[in-house]
């Protein structure tokens, strides 16, 4: 049972969230025609044994998307931020 601390709702069980995949990949602009960029974004992953930046959505709470830094070996969570903030 992971406990994820939503920045505005506080610590919650992980089953309040929906996992959204790797957050370290760069999404191309909506009108970017570069095939390679989209291919990398959709299919290529580092899959690190260690800290992993990933998306989680607090679906039964504030519905915000978060960027979580989680160690894939120990499940220790190093940081959590709103996804919106990380874009700024």
């Amino acid at each position: 049972m992971l406990r994820i601390e939503c920045p505005c709702c506080g610590p919650r069980d992980h089953d309040e969230f929906r996992y959204g995949g790797d957050a370290s990949v760069t999404r191309p602009a909506y009108d970017d025609p570069d095939f390679e960029a989209w291919y990398r974004y959709v299919f290529v992953r580092e899959n690190p044994a260690g800290l992993h930046r990933e998306y989680w959505q607090h679906v039964v709470g504030c519905r915000q998307w978060l960027v979580v830094e989680r160690d894939t070996r120990s499940h220790t969570i190093a940081s959590i931020r709103f996804a919106r903030e990380t874009r700024a």
């Binding site: 049972m1 120990s74 499940h75």
Partner: protein
């Protein structure tokens, strides 16, 4: 064996009646089932797993390998409970296991004769032929022969529950370390929960006599803790698992005092405790010794013999041999002697400390040094032991053998996070590894040797844990326990510590214990070897005697030292292979009394140090947990929540056969249409095409999209354009995934310049919602768009059929629903009387149809109004079966076609996109692989074989082709078409074979059918859509 007249922590004023294997017996409140059985003189409590050897009670705790019982009858039957932890209750019905016809005369005892063939992994080597199926035949009998208790087969009438708890500091264990931690953390102001699996608090302190200093300390501590409102003490609660985020899984058993819980009370409760910090004070488990026939009834852990004496007032033997390799067993010896037993200590060490020998002498306890038990004699009860000593063999008669091979800290919970235990050479045992922040250890579990130390460590852990949580009020010094010698001698040195720190030389063979000593037979002798074992065994004759008996390492799984040697010989050397090849450590006790010996034995065989061999992984649960507790109340009707539309009750009252669709209940068909679904859906289809039908579509996903950039947003998420959709119009839209595959389809209506109403499929509603939010939060945060799920905000229904307009006009006379006011794909949003109506002219069925949306609280009212107004026009309700069939006739794609593998091109919809760009999925949609001519595309299929029907999932082949392999495609959706009087289907067929008019074979090998059909346009009816317009 007998119950003493005084002493113990039992309440002799509360006798309790129970039965064991049908025999009526009496015990007292405060007894466990095991102590009550012992008090009643019961030695034989079970038969072993493989060899069906007679077994007695070995321990006094959850590490018990032998005394497994089944409690309860009927649906309450619960097998494999350890009698040593079952709290005695009035009316308890207990049965022994794994024996037939009875414990005494178990027929499978003869398995012992086959023992040479039943060694570890025997089933991998025998039972291998004559055919591959033969194993399944043999397995049937092997399973019946081996095994533990039998589970009940009737529904369980008891209640189970789940509770969510929170705490600052969770403490596992209520021994001296745990209690000290609780007091310190409580004084510091933290919210404390102390968890104890026993029904009494005190841990190891409960093994001391009631009039001892430690008993007084215990009472004092409990009184103080009871007075602290921020400290919660939980008994009968096992912490079975530690999970990420410092969440502890606990199971709490009812303590009603009777066999069954009180009315409304749960039998067991799962508690999920979310703690900010955890203190592990789970103590240590004693190890038995390994010698031939070390599994006989009457052989018990030394600490257990002491617990039965001091806590339960049961003297388990009158002539006792205490065999040990460390100091702690001396306490058992002394207490037993004080109670009147004749005690002999067989100490494997050369020179126990002088002080202990003095104590022994004063109590009349004989001490033999350099003494190892070679063999235990007696079958259904031990009657003597054969000792191996430098001076030769010696036989000592006894009725109780109390053994101690050292102690293993109970590290299990600390390892659940994946932190492997570490080996401490100085005390020859594994202790917890380095735990993360917020996790602390104290007492015997961390290798602490003394009670005083446990108190100090517990106090420290309590202070640290509460500080970690931010609770830092002033804490007093720990309440020390001044243990003085029971019988003070001239040296006046304290004795009453669990384990006495001894000089280093002795610690190698004392302290926490020494590695297993294997019989020498299987190890090749090297010249000049003078091993400890060889010296003490005195030669081959002794070796031969040794060969006559099994020396058990895992007593529950019947795994012997010979099995370990066998595993090693056959190459199963790693500890993980050893475990699985021999089944060592795989029983209900999970090897609590055997793991360490197995590791050290294997280490010895491989010539390695113990830490190099390592340990297997500890996983939850620490002790078995009933599945009922994990399920809690989520069973039967409450298995999952049920989602009902606003018209649900009307459907049920009007003959609908309801169907589960995910969490929704939907009308499948109406029994007024036909006797079964096949009859009904055809009738309902006809009705919709010829007159009109009313369908509840409230389950569709609905999303409100608003904002200055809403149009731009929709233009990006849909493959076809929406920015230029006029206000008051609806448009069918398709969304792609980022990889170019079709994601979902739906209809979006423009309510205003900046306001859209999106619908999605029922199944994908949640996914689409999350996707939209994801794009706004992570990809395009600059877009000013608000998306909100309004699925349950609106009741929705569809009137479809040639009479639909007339019915709508009759239901809402004041509304202008003419073709001019409300054309195909048009919107009418009006206040009708006091109702806000949203009417969108859309069709899924291919007939003229109107989707009517109204606030959920008014759904039933509007539905009834339509039914009433529609009656003269022949309006009847129809269900999802007919809905699905109608759309197939019209070639509309739905879930079966949008299965996560198809593209717009595959589905023949690329014309929807035209020359657009800048939408999700656009770039990867253009990849080469998607234009492979072998890719299947959407076709219609019409069966032309009379009397046969098409089946969804059928694989498509060319005629005269062998019906093997992947074929050319598959059928995705099927229906009988009453309009065409034929079976039709939508399918995906390789482009090269998808020629209109071509003949195709649809094969369903699982049901043994192959049907011929013709490729046709997927729009089977009204290809120009004329019925929709006008």
């Amino acid at each position: 064996m007998r119950r003493l007249a005084i002493g113990g922590r039992i309440d002799r004023s509360q006798p309790m009646e129970f039965t064991f294997d049908g025999r009526a017996m009496t015990g007292f409140r405060g007894d466990t089932l095991a102590s009550a059985l012992l008090a009643n003189g019961v030695r034989l409590v079970g038969r072993s797993f493989k060899y069906h050897r007679p077994r007695g009670i070995l321990s006094a705790g959850p590490e018990e390998p032998n005394a497994l019982v089944t409690l309860g009858t009927g649906g309450r039957r619960e097998p494999n409970l350890t009698a040593t932890t079952v709290e005695l209750a009035d009316g308890l019905v207990a049965e022994s296991q794994n024996r037939w016809p009875s414990l005494k005369f178990d027929a499978q005892g003869i398995n012992g004769l086959f023992a040479p063939f039943l060694s570890a992994g025997f089933y991998y080597k025998t039972f291998m032929g004559p055919t591959r199926r033969a194993w399944m035949f043999y397995e049937h009998f092997i399973r019946k022969a081996a095994g533990f208790g039998r589970a009940g087969e009737e529904p369980d009438p008891d209640r189970y529950d789940v509770r969510h708890l929170f705490a600052d500091v969770a403490i596992v264990g209520s021994g001296p370390a745990g209690l000290s931690a609780a007091l310190a953390a409580g004084e510091a102001g933290a919210r404390v929960v102390l968890i104890e699996q026993d029904f009494a608090l005190g841990g190891t302190l409960l093994s001391d006599p009631q009039d001892s200093e430690s008993a007084a300390w215990l009472s004092g501590m409990l009184a103080r803790l009871a007075g602290m409102p921020n400290v919660s003490l939980m008994t009968r609660t096992t912490a079975f698992g530690a999970y990420d985020g410092n969440v502890l899984g606990l199971v709490e058993r009812h303590g009603s005092g009777t066999a069954d819980p009180k009315e409304g009370q749960a039998r067991q409760m799962l508690l999920l405790l979310r703690a900010k910090s955890i203190v592990y004070a789970s103590g240590a488990l004693e190890r038995p010794l390994t010698f031939a026939n070390n599994d006989r009834p009457g052989i018990m852990l030394a600490s257990a013999a002491r617990i039965y004496l001091n806590r339960f007032a049961v003297l388990t033997g009158t002539r006792v041999v205490v065999a040990t390799d460390n100091d702690s067993a001396y306490r058992a010896a002394f207490d037993l002697a004080t109670a009147g037993a004749e005690v002999t200590i067989a100490d494997s060490r050369a020179e126990p400390i002088h002080d202990l020998r003095e104590q022994a002498r004063r109590r009349g306890v004989a001490v033999r040094t350099n003494s190892l038990i070679a063999n235990a004699l007696g079958r259904r009860a031990v009657r003597a032991v054969s000792l191996s000593e430098p001076g030769g063999a010696a036989t000592v008669r006894c009725d109780l053998v109390a053994v101690s091979g050292g102690w293993s800290p109970t590290v299990h919970l600390t390892s659940h996070f994946g932190v492997k235990p570490v080996y401490r050479e100085d005390i020859q045992t594994f202790v917890p590894g380095k735990l993360g922040a917020g996790r602390f250890v104290a007492g015997a579990v961390m290798g602490g040797l003394t009670t005083a130390g446990a108190i100090e460590q517990g106090h420290r852990a309590g202070v640290d844990a509460s500080a970690f949580c931010g609770a830092a009020k002033a804490v007093q010094q720990p309440v020390r326990l001044e243990l003085t010698e029971i019988d003070a001698g001239p040296d006046d040195s304290p004795l009453g510590t669990s384990l006495r720190p001894a000089p280093l030389a002795q610690l190698v063979r004392g302290g926490y214990g020494s590695p297993a000593i294997l019989p020498e037979l299987h190890r090749p002798r090297r010249s000049g070897e003078t091993s400890h074992a060889k010296r003490t065994r005195g030669g081959d004759e002794e070796g031969a005697k040794l060969a006559a008996g099994k020396a058990f390492v895992d007593i529950q799984m019947d795994v012997t030292t010979q099995d370990i040697a066998l595993a090693h010989r056959e190459g199963y050397e790693s500890v993980e292979h050893l475990k699985r090849y021999t089944t060592l450590g795989m029983g209900t006790d999970q090897g609590k009394t055997s793991n360490f010996y197995a590791l050290s034995a294997m280490a010895g065989l491989r010539g390695m140090a113990v830490p190099e061999v390592g340990t297997t992984t500890f996983r939850p649960p620490y002790t078995p947990v009933a599945i009922g507790a994990l399920a809690g109340r989520s069973i039967g009707h409450h298995y999952k929540p049920i989602r009902r539309t606003p018209m649900h009750d009307w459907h049920v009252a009007n003959g609908a056969q309801m169907l589960e669709g995910g969490l929704w209940m939907r009308p499948w068909f109406y029994r007024t249409s036909g006797r079964d679904v096949n009859e009904a859906y055809v009738a309902e289809m006809r009705m919709v095409r010829e007159t009109a039908g009313l369908m509840d579509i409230s389950t569709l996903g609905k999303i409100d999209v608003q904002g200055p950039d809403a149009a731009e947003f929709l233009d990006r998420v849909y493959a076809n354009g929406f920015a230029r959709l006029p206000v008051g119009r609806a448009r069918y839209g398709i969304m792609l995934r980022d990889d170019g595959i079709v994601f979902d389809d739906g209809t979006t209506t423009r309510l205003g310049e900046r306001h859209f109403f999106m619908t999605t499929s029922t199944a994908k509603a949640a996914d689409v919602m999350s996707r939209l939010e994801f794009l706004l939060d992570t990809a395009w945060p600059d877009l000013r768009v608000s998306v909100t799920s309004v699925t349950y905000e609106w009741a929705a229904m569809s009137v479809a059929g040639p009479n639909s307009r007339d019915i709508l006009a009759a239901a809402f006379p004041d509304l202008d629903v003419s073709n001019e006011a409300l054309p195909h794909m048009g919107l009418l949003e009006e206040q009708y009387r006091d109702m806000h109506l949203r009417i969108i002219r859309l069709s899924f069925s291919g007939e003229r149809a109107y989707e009517i949306y109204v606030g959920a609280s008014l759904g039933n009212e509007v539905w009834c109004r339509l039914m009433e107004a529609g009656a003269p026009f022949g309006l009847k309700p129809y269900g999802v079966e007919a809905l699905g069939a109608l759309r197939v006739e019209k070639g509309h794609i739905a879930g079966p076609e949008i299965d996560g593998r198809t593209t717009l091109d595959d589905l023949g919809l690329s014309r929807m996109v035209g020359k657009r760009s800048g939408y999700v999925g656009e770039v990867l949609e253009r990849r080469e692989a998607f234009s492979d001519p072998a890719r299947p595309r959407l076709v219609g299929l019409r069966c032309f074989e009379p009397g046969k029907q098409l089946h969804a999932g059928a694989i498509l082949f060319r005629p005269n082709e062998s019906l093997q392999g992947h074929g050319l495609g598959r059928i995705t959706s099927v229906t009988y078409s009453p309009a065409l009087d034929a079976w039709v289907a939508l399918g995906l067929l390789a482009r090269e074979a998808a020629v209109e008019g071509a003949e195709i074979v649809a094969a369903s090998p699982i049901i043994g059918q192959a049907v011929r059909a013709r490729v046709v346009s997927p729009i089977f009816l009204d290809p120009k859509g004329e019925r929709l317009r006008g």
